[in-house]
């Protein structure tokens, strides 16, 4: 029976077939030449100023006043000040809410939902929905801020008109909710597009074999879709978290108010650095934001890489 019931293992293990990745025969030297212009620009206009910011973070540099004329290195003073400042902690916590609520939950989930719902639709409906979502993303932020101020205005706002509320001050009573929803509105397009591309990569046969086994929609998502788009989820979360962390547009809706109730870190930095002129302190907070971003990035990479 040996021959008929078991095929010979002609190939035990096949390592990934890669051949040479360098299909065009660039070679390291030319690859270096190709990357050089971009890296040079980045080095001068990104890395250098960024390091400068890190340096400013350990000085008492101010926009005006004596400290502007003669800034001094104060070591980790700024960081200690920040850590002792309840506003900083307030802002940090609000930022966590903001990122988690608007990016990780809001944009990512809504973007995925739209991509999923429209996944095998073609034609005008899909184009319209996608177009409008993308519109919200590409409009300039100054314009968008006005649209939302108009939308949320307690007296004349469209939202209250639609909901039949009078004098409900969204930006005052629910500032975080407002900017979170605003940011979802603003940024969902990116997630939507990314997931739309990702869903195109899920082999239909995998979904179908799950369906044949009787898997529900949710089971299909869990067992088939998610494992396939893990990499996209990672890219998406990484980028939108990063962007949202540094997003300044809430300022244009609430200016951090009322009473710092929506003062996310980016706004906090602005308030400290520009309104207050404490550039050194602002730079220190930027450094802290960078560190938080780093932690978040490493966390995502760990999380999504751990189970292959």
């Amino acid at each position: 029976m040996a021959q008929a019931t078991s095929l010979p293992d002609t190939t035990e293990e096949q390592p990934a077939r890669r051949y040479s990745e360098d299909a065009a025969g660039l070679g390291r030297l030319r690859a270096g030449a190709f990357t050089a212009p971009a890296l040079a620009l980045i080095a001068v206009f990104l890395v250098f100023p960024a390091l400068w910011v890190l340096y400013l973070g350990i000085t008492n540099y101010r926009l005006t006043g004596i400290a502007a004329a003669d800034p001094k290195v104060v070591g980790i003073d700024n960081f200690l000040t920040a850590l002792a400042n309840p506003r900083f902690w307030n802002s940090t916590w609000l930022t966590v809410e903001f990122v988690a609520g608007s990016a990780v939950i809001g944009q990512a989930v809504l973007g995925f939902t739209i991509a999923w719902v429209l996944r095998d639709r073609r034609g005008p409906l899909r184009r319209i929905v996608e177009g409008i979502v993308i519109l919200a993303w590409i409009l300039p932020s100054a314009v968008v801020a006005f649209l939302w101020v108009a939308l949320l205005d307690p007296r004349d706002g469209t939202l209250n008109a639609v909901l039949g509320l009078t004098d409900f001050a969204w930006l005052l009573d629910h500032p975080m909710l407002s900017i979170i929803v605003f940011n979802i509105w603003r940024g969902t397009a990116f997630s939507m597009m990314l997931y739309a591309a990702a869903l195109g990569n899920v082999p239909p046969s995998h979904l179908e074999s799950a369906r044949l086994a009787g898997a529900s929609n949710w089971q299909q998502l869990r067992d088939v879709v998610f494992p396939h788009i893990r990499g996209h989820v990672l890219t998406n979360l990484l980028l939108i978290s990063l962007w949202t962390f540094n997003d300044f547009s809430p300022f244009m809706l609430t200016a951090g108010g009322p009473d710092g109730k929506s003062e996310v870190l980016a706004v906090h930095v602005y308030n400290e650095a520009v309104r207050n002129g404490s550039l050194g302190y602002g730079a220190a907070i930027s450094t802290i934001i960078l560190l938080i971003n780093l932690v978040v990035a490493v966390f995502y990479l760990r999380l999504l890489r751990s189970k292959r």
Partner: protein, 272 residues
């Protein structure tokens, strides 16, 4: 069958809610510019063209749109060109430390968009004689956008089959020829997407042009938009809404053209 019907109803409701959510804020932009004395209320406009008239007569409004165009197109071209070359090389040749480098740059790029970076960037521009120069601004803006652009484009590059390039190579094409003849056309949707993304980014950027350009004649619309206030900082809704509309139209048109011509889509997914 009921399941099917329920599914349809659910789908339609969801789409309707989504459309409402995403269009509601936009209504104001459609109505206010055409209204004589706009407030924050969305109402049926009285279709006056007066506001447009005022904007057309505004000394800086239209030129600023042109400046925006110069800045954003310039930046987009530079970003796309440099990012494409870099992303291609990074995708095809395993330079040491490539992944770490990309992540670090991505993180640093977030610091550079923050307000704290304005002093170094300003000082840098002064020292490099790039102050009040649109070209200098383009360089600075590109520096901030490049890491994310490379990051996203690399995914596009990774996803293209290598046999095209190999085939061209066997025919004797040089690497640059391969990039021009084969790679660029293949990743064109990606390039278009990155271009739109760059344009949208620059189009809305206020702080850098404001700080680095001295001459109003060189200022882009984002800065001019901020000047449409009164002495006490009150919004001039007539001008703001109208200019806001004019200011939005070019990016929207650009998006429509690009999405029609090249398809507008993302790749992505960090290779594990």
């Amino acid at each position: 069958m009921t399941r099917f019907v329920l599914g349809r109803i659910g789908f339609s409701t969801l789409v309707a809610v989504l459309l409402a959510f995403f269009t509601l804020p936009l209504l104001w932009l459609a109505s206010a510019p055409l209204t004589t004395d706009p407030t924050y209320k969305v109402s049926v406009p009285d279709f006056t063209w007066e506001n447009f008239q005022t904007i057309l007569e505004h000394p800086y409004a239209l030129p600023s749109l042109y400046n925006s165009l110069v800045l954003s197109v310039g930046t987009a071209l530079l970003v796309v060109l440099l990012a494409a070359l870099a992303a291609y090389a990074l995708s095809r040749v395993h330079l040491p430390g490539r992944d770490v480098l990309l992540y670090v740059l991505l993180l640093l790029s977030s610091i550079i968009t923050g307000t704290a970076a304005m002093v170094p960037l300003f000082q840098l521009a002064v020292d490099l004689q790039l102050i009040d120069s649109q070209f200098g601004l383009i360089l600075i803006l590109s520096g901030g956008l490049l890491p994310a652009a490379i990051f996203m484009l690399k995914d596009f590059m990774d996803a293209t089959p290598k046999s095209y390039e190999e085939s061209a190579r066997v025919f004797g094409a040089t690497p640059l020829q391969i990039v021009r003849h084969v790679v660029v056309p293949l990743v064109r949707p990606g390039l278009a997407t990155i271009a739109v993304w760059s344009v949208a980014n620059v189009w809305g950027n206020f702080l850098m042009p404001f700080l680095l350009l001295r001459d109003v004649e060189k200022q882009p619309a984002a800065v001019i938009m901020y000047t449409l206030y009164t002495e006490g900082g009150q919004a001039n809704l007539r001008l703001l809404s109208t200019f806001g509309l004019l200011y939005s139209v070019p990016v929207v048109v650009m998006y429509l053209i690009v999405s029609k011509k090249y398809g507008f889509r993302f790749h992505g997914g960090i290779k594990r």
